[in-house]
């Protein structure tokens, strides 16, 4: 690489763009994106506390228990159990600043949350996605869209209340 080419502009993919990319590549993926009326510095730490945040906005989850936590590649790698419809489902979680990817074991279900500062950090752009990353599941998208829309409405309400 020449000295001049080292100074060339480099494109970046922030958390929201990464989330959209993954969503667009999974046929069943449904997501909602919008603005939370809360500062990013308040919103993301609240979201990242999965045991507290997820049961309070996810209509399908009653309880989240963090089983294991480790630092991997500049991110946190968590193992959690999310209790949904009375069943504790194990998830592998990759948690970064503004990006949280939760995959059920055996890749049966995927949940993604991404956030970026908006209005200079005074508010938060947020994306919530859910998917069944298996072949032949495209028809689930309508149902999943209703689920993520309901979750997002809860997030908007909680943000307005200051979490």
């Amino acid at each position: 690489m020449s000295d001049v080419s080292r100074r060339w502009p480099v494109a970046m993919a922030g958390p929201i763009a990464r989330a959209r990319t993954l969503g667009a590549s999974i046929p069943s993926a449904a997501w909602t994106e919008g603005i939370l009326d809360a500062p990013y510095d308040a919103a993301w730490p609240w979201v990242a506390d999965l045991a507290m945040s997820v049961p309070s906005f996810d209509t399908q989850v009653r309880k989240v228990q963090v089983v294991q936590r480790a630092a991997v590649d500049g991110a946190e790698q968590l193992r959690i159990k999310a209790t949904t419809f009375g069943v504790a489902v194990p998830f592998d979680v990759r948690l970064e600043d503004g990006f949280c990817l939760m995959q059920a074991r055996a890749r049966l279900y995927l949940v993604l949350m991404a956030a970026e500062p908006h209005d200079g950090g005074a508010r938060t752009r947020f994306l919530h996605l859910e998917a069944v990353p298996l072949p032949g599941t495209r028809l689930l998208r309508g149902h999943l869209q209703r689920v993520v829309d309901a979750d997002f409405r809860n997030l908007v309400r909680l943000a307005a209340l200051g979490f």
Partner: protein, 150 residues
């Protein structure tokens, strides 16, 4: 899939940023969508890098062509980074020079000077004659030389 995106991000960011400039982020997103949707068609894992390069160059040219050809505005540099610590005046100068080239010329510069491809390899990837690569490269390098050499 996210692990693949993270691994490819620095390389795709360099290709898309240099070719699509202000729309590099959009080109990067389109590249990854195409890569992930078509990953099953890649039969030889060892060919991944070349396959991704082809998609990134194609998407970056397409996005750059579909965008407006605005003159470079230094304020748009907010949020852009570079692969090495540098001073902003140099970045703006490079960016201004790149903005004066066609997306196809920027693509050839990336393939030759960043990726180190031969003219024949660049021609094959872009689907043009080797002579076309040679002439486009000459014009692109001349544009840089006029700005950078005394």
């Amino acid at each position: 899939m996210d692990a693949l995106v993270r691994e490819l991000m620095p390389y795709v960011g360099r290709v898309c940023g240099a070719i699509a400039l202000d729309r590099g982020d959009d080109a990067m997103q389109e590249t990854f969508i195409s890569v992930l949707r078509n990953l099953r068609t890649l039969r030889e894992p060892a060919a991944l890098h070349g396959w991704v390069r082809r998609i990134a160059v194609r998407e970056a040219i397409r996005v750059a062509r579909s965008g407006r050809e605005d003159p470079t505005d230094p304020t748009t540099l907010v949020g852009l980074t570079s692969v090495a610590p540098i001073d902003m005046a140099t970045v703006i100068d490079v960016r201004t020079t790149l903005a004066g080239l066609a997306p196809e010329q920027r693509a050839i510069l990336v393939l030759r000077d960043v990726d180190g491809l031969s003219e024949a390899e660049a021609a094959q990837l872009l689907g043009v004659a080797a002579g076309t690569v040679k002439s486009r490269l000459h014009r692109a390098r001349s544009a840089f030389a006029r700005r950078w050499e005394p």
